[in-house]
């Protein structure tokens, strides 16, 4: 937390540079928030305040945008975010079962993060790999045709 509150921190320097770059495009708020989330992992209110003063956009507007879009999170997230697809194709092919398997394996519920900060279990709507349904995504890696718990465990073990 102390890191987040300290505006001298390296992360803020990085963000400041990005903001001055992005200021060139019109209304860059969402693009800036995306970059900020990439740097900090999430968007705590301190970061939003910082962006507010740098971009000269009222904090309430920033808060409104952050809470509107699913992509943004105000809670810290794990090093790896497991996004289980709950789109239609995956749903009919058993997405709820995958969520149950991962949840059992990691001991966390949907939306939660493991104690060691490794994994966050989250859901997305269709990642466009429907023909491989059911699917989950970690980072940019897509894992499809998941049928057994053993498959899930194997994949998660690659990230320990």
């Amino acid at each position: 937390m102390s890191q987040i509150a300290n505006y001298d921190n390296q992360m803020y320097k990085e963000l400041k540079e990005i903001i001055s770059e992005k200021k060139k495009i019109r209304n860059p708020l969402i693009e800036v928030l995306r970059e900020a989330q990439a740097i900090f992992g999430y968007l705590p209110i301190e970061v939003q305040q910082f962006i507010s003063s740098e971009l000269d956009v009222p904090l309430n507007k920033i808060y409104g945008v952050v809470t509107f879009y699913n992509f943004f999170s105000m809670k810290p997230r794990g090093k790896y975010v497991i996004n289980v697809c709950t789109g239609t194709a995956c749903y009919v092919k058993g997405a709820p079962r995958i969520i149950q398997m991962i949840s059992e394996e990691l001991g966390i519920e949907m939306g939660e993060t493991t104690k060691d900060g490794q994994f966050t279990l989250s859901a997305v709507r269709c990642v466009g790999a429907c023909s491989l349904a059911p699917v989950f995504v970690i980072g940019e890696e897509t894992y499809g045709r998941i049928e057994t718990k053993a498959q899930v465990v194997d994949i998660l073990n690659q990230y320990h």
């Binding site: 209304n27 969402i30 239609t88 709507r125 466009g128 023909s131 699917v135």
Partner: protein, 612 residues
């Protein structure tokens, strides 16, 4: 000149199935065999039959290989490339007949590729390959020979309608954009593809990005826009990368920038990414999202063509709409209009998924029947099960049944049947799917994605969801169906944007076609498809049970008791229906029975709080 072209599909399906590893193995073995200079390896976008992945084609013969593994690479190199003997084992067979090339495979036979013409045939990161297939000829012709009005007229004559779901005539939309005079106008490519269960736009952007950009340039010229935006969902990082790369290459050679092809037309575009909100696919919401605000829709009129991005005239077109344009200008409006039926011209790309054999990306002429799409192109239902329903149009669409299979696919015919064309997601369902549960799934989606601005959508959908929740948990009551219909129709009439105006459709259409299933849930407290866990129960068949106690040990709530002599019994009141007992039973003595058990039935009565 290389002797052999090896096209490896690197669409998302095949990449997940391992096509990149296979490519590396090819490079390794080709080098080892001194063949690197003879074989040209091309990474292409999606070839279509994702279910056969990883797939690849070898030219000049056009041999099509499916389900290739790293271990097969050596055989392909030594047999096919060195000795000229294609590996039959890896080809598609149908009724014991070998289908060596793409043309012979039934999956491809009824397809007509227009938007997907190049997808799976060229390297999507090579502008030269795009140009070699006739790329940028259309924009060249438009800029040098045609006035803006002539450009618009071609699209009008072609009969092209928006592929993003609404089906609005593209020529007419452009005409509005053209007629509204302003110092600055914008063109936006809608690549938000929010329909869960669809990946057409993704595949187009990843497989043939230049074509979409060229389409955008034609549209921009027609309406008089000098600036464009690609609004691409964040879930599609590769699509974002490819479009950005393609634009950079085009800028370098002057295909984007000032005075393109020496004409007076100057144009450039940038990419904006979505941040995970379905409603941002709606054009006014999308515009607000680009403006850096919450993506909430605003009432139309004013239409974007009049007052859109930063209050300037703006035309929003879907990816597939734009991808059709180059072919229309190259081959003529009459050619395009000769495909399809009635007011639905040309072709449509569909993402076939669910319980169908050949899942993947397909493009078929408008007017093809659902039967041909599902059973010919799609190869029918998997695992020998029965077809039950097909869902079109995602959360805005509806389910159709066996009876509707001979309906030709057009914008009008689908609407009439209570579904809609939508963006092209086709989800095929077999008889293990519960239609009430499927409708609840879509409603849940719409409840979550409702932006909250107008109350019929925000509150009404919640209300409907509550009733669906009751029905699927055994608390349904007489009159619920009528209430759902009433609410649904009101929400459709009173909502601000397309989301609310269509969100009740999945429920209404399943009531229309599967009313008896709703009745079973409400009156008999039974889920015939054995999906809704509250409306089924597990029972141990004592004549089969061997008393091994495995189920009792694996039961997470300890609701199974018994011993070797008396066999085992499930205590229904405590059972959470996790299914562990069924999974572990070595003799399959556990039965899943539709309907609540009488013990639970008497314990659950609707309380005041649960009634809506």
């Amino acid at each position: 000149m290389k002797r052999i072209d090896l096209l490896i599909c690197c669409g998302s399906g095949c990449v997940s199935a391992g096509s990149l590893k296979i490519k590396n193995k090819f490079i390794e073995l080709l080098e080892a065999n001194d063949l690197r200079s003879e074989v040209n390896i091309i990474e292409t976008g999606c070839m279509g039959p994702c279910d056969f992945g990883p797939v690849m084609m070898v030219y000049p013969e056009g041999v099509f290989y499916q389900k290739v593994t790293v271990d097969d690479v050596e055989e392909i190199v030594t047999e096919h490339f060195l000795k000229g003997r294609p590996v039959q084992r890896l080809m598609v067979t149908e009724d014991d007949k070998l289908k060596a090339t793409k043309k012979e495979i039934p999956f491809y036979q009824k397809q007509v590729k227009v938007a997907l013409e190049n997808c799976g045939h060229i390297d999507p990161e090579s502008m030269d390959e795009y140009i070699a297939t006739g790329g940028f000829e259309a924009i060249g012709k438009v800029l040098s020979e045609m006035s803006q009005q002539e450009t618009i007229d071609v699209v009008k004559d072609s009969g092209l309608r928006g592929r993003g779901g609404g089906g609005f005539p593209t020529g007419l939309k452009w005409q509005f954009g053209f007629n509204n005079k302003a110092d600055q106008k914008y063109i936006i490519c809608n690549a938000d593809e929010g329909d869960p269960g669809a990946f057409m736009d993704r595949s187009l952007l990843e497989g043939d990005p230049y074509r979409v950009i060229e389409g955008m340039m034609i549209a921009a010229y027609a309406i008089g826009a000098s600036r464009g935006y690609f609004y691409i969902r964040a879930e599609y990082p590769l699509a974002i990368k490819r479009i950005k790369l393609a634009m950079e290459q085009m800028r370098e050679v002057g295909l984007l920038g000032d005075n393109i092809f020496g004409s007076a037309f100057s144009f450039d575009a940038e990419v904006r990414t979505g941040a995970g909100a379905f409603v941002c696919g709606e054009e006014t919401a999308l515009i607000h999202s680009i403006e850096g605000m919450r993506g909430q829709p605003t009432p139309k009129p004013p239409f974007p063509a009049e007052r859109g991005l930063w209050d300037k005239p703006t035309v929003v077109n879907n990816v597939e709409t734009l991808a059709n344009l180059t072919s229309i200008y190259n081959k003529g409006a009459e050619w395009f209009a000769s495909m399809g039926v009635g007011k639905s011209k040309g072709t449509k790309v569909f993402a076939l998924t669910g319980d169908v054999k050949n899942t993947g990306l397909v493009e078929v002429p408008m007017g093809i029947t659902l039967r041909d799409l599902i059973f010919e192109v799609g190869g029918g239902i998997t695992n020998g099960r029965k077809f039950k329903a097909v869902q079109l149009g995602g959360p805005s669409g509806g389910c159709l049944t066996e009876k509707d299979l001979d309906t030709p696919i057009t914008y009008e015919s689908l609407l009439e049947k209570g579904a809609m064309m939508g963006s092209g997601g086709v989800i095929v369902m077999n008889d293990t799917n519960c239609m009430v549960n499927v409708a609840k799934f879509f409603l849940d989606f719409s409840v979550e994605e409702s932006c909250g601005k107008c109350f019929p959508c925000r509150l009404g959908l919640k209300q409907m969801y509550g009733i669906m929740e009751n029905i699927t948990s055994g608390k349904g009551k007489e009159g619920d169906i009528e209430e759902l219909i009433r609410l649904g129709n009101d929400i459709k009439k009173a909502s601000l944007c397309g989301l609310g105006q269509t969100a009740p459709n999945p429920v209404l259409s399943t009531i229309r076609y599967f009313r008896e299933e709703y009745d079973a849930h409400i009156k008999n407290k039974s889920c015939p498809a054995k999906v809704c866990t509250s409306l089924i129960h597990f029972d141990i068949d004592k004549s089969k049970c061997i008393g091994c106690s495995l189920c009792a040990r694996k039961c997470p709530v300890n609701c199974i008791t018994g011993n070797r002599e008396d066999k085992y019994t499930i205590h229904q009141l405590d059972c959470i229906k996790c299914g562990n007992c069924d999974d572990v039973c070595p003799v399959h003595a556990v039965n899943i029975i539709p309907g609540m058990h009488y013990e639970t039935l008497s314990a659950v009565q609707p309380t005041k709080k649960d009634t809506y």
